[in-house]
């Protein structure tokens, strides 16, 4: 246990993190691209068309990973914010600041692919379906987080204010999700929502789905590490160790 703890404390120091992440990024980015290529091949070429949804099932292979990961982004952003607030680790705020844009773009992608999936299935691009509406709310939460952060001229205060909003937001996500679901089921009791789509998924479709999911996850870790390095540069630009970084 304390091996992990002292790794965690060493990692909390910006210079150490900056150097470690520099070497770690390729280790995530390269496997992510390889897996993505395999996933695309599986999704677009080999996987069979669905007897019911036809080829539109291929949208699932993109929509589901992106949708799951956008929610995971918000929760991990809130966890990083909480760590930043409670133990006052500046790096945790940098991580939260790094996750926000990635999470926002994933949520927007989830909405985009979800509505494109809706057109052939429901005949319209936008349906106030429970999941799509929840993701719309998640997008607003991400937008609020990003807007609040850069409304503050002082980076430290912006971090702490956005962190509080992230924690309040993450507590509300389940509430929003269930109230939207409750509200939605009132109107179309048997609505074929996006989630039901994968209930009856058979194994041949699982391979592309999990490959894509794993690929996007690895990509996300790499992206967040890269953005965190930028945030660390912003926050530590005045510190001495920055000069050594510039030398190489």
């Amino acid at each position: 246990m304390n091996a992990f703890m002292n790794w965690f404390y060493r990692m909390a120091s910006p210079p150490h993190f900056y150097r470690w992440s520099g070497t770690a990024i390729p280790w995530f980015l390269v496997p992510a691209t390889v897996l993505a290529v395999i996933g695309l091949y599986l999704a677009l070429v080999t996987s069979p068309t669905d007897y019911q949804m036809g080829d539109t099932v291929r949208i699932m292979y993109v929509h589901v990973p992106v949708a799951w990961l956008s929610l995971m982004c918000y929760t991990s952003m809130a966890v990083a914010s909480a760590i930043g607030l409670i133990w006052r680790i500046k790096l945790a705020h940098a991580v939260a600041a790094a996750i926000a844009p990635a999470g926002a773009s994933l949520t927007a992608l989830a909405l985009f692919t979800g509505s494109l999936w809706g057109k052939p299935t429901w005949g319209t691009y936008w349906v106030w379906d429970a999941r799509l509406t929840s993701y719309l709310m998640l997008l607003f939460l991400f937008a609020g987080f990003a807007l609040l952060r850069n409304a503050f001229s002082d980076v430290q205060r912006g971090d702490r204010a956005a962190a509080i909003l992230a924690i309040v937001g993450v507590v509300n996500i389940p509430i929003i999700h269930y109230s939207v679901n409750w509200w939605n089921t009132l109107h179309q009791p048997a609505s074929f929502s996006v989630t039901k789509g994968q209930a009856g998924i058979d194994s041949s479709m699982l391979w592309p789905l999990f490959t894509m999911l794993f690929a996007v996850t690895l990509y996300l870790v790499a992206l967040v590490l890269m953005r965190t390095r930028n945030e660390v540069l912003i926050r530590e630009r005045r510190k001495a160790w920055i000069k050594e970084v510039l030398v190489k």
């Binding site: 080829d55 539109t56 993109v62 927007a108 930028n230 630009r237």
Partner: protein, 56 residues
């Protein structure tokens, strides 16, 4: 040749499937590019700061 065309058309659903994949790849790769561009700009910005500080 038609074999490629059929695959691409995905019997009519292609018009919805392809935009999904293209936009997803664009957004994900775009994020990477933006991150690297920001990094370059930040490093230049800091590099400019340093001579000023030494001279002060």
């Amino acid at each position: 040749m038609t074999q490629w065309a059929d695959w691409f058309a995905m019997n009519g659903d292609g018009v919805f499937v392809w935009p999904c994949y293209i936009v997803t790849v664009l957004v994900l790769v775009g994020n990477l590019l933006i991150a690297t561009r920001n990094r370059r700009r930040l490093l230049e910005d800091i590099r400019l700061q340093i001579p000023m500080e030494n001279s002060r």
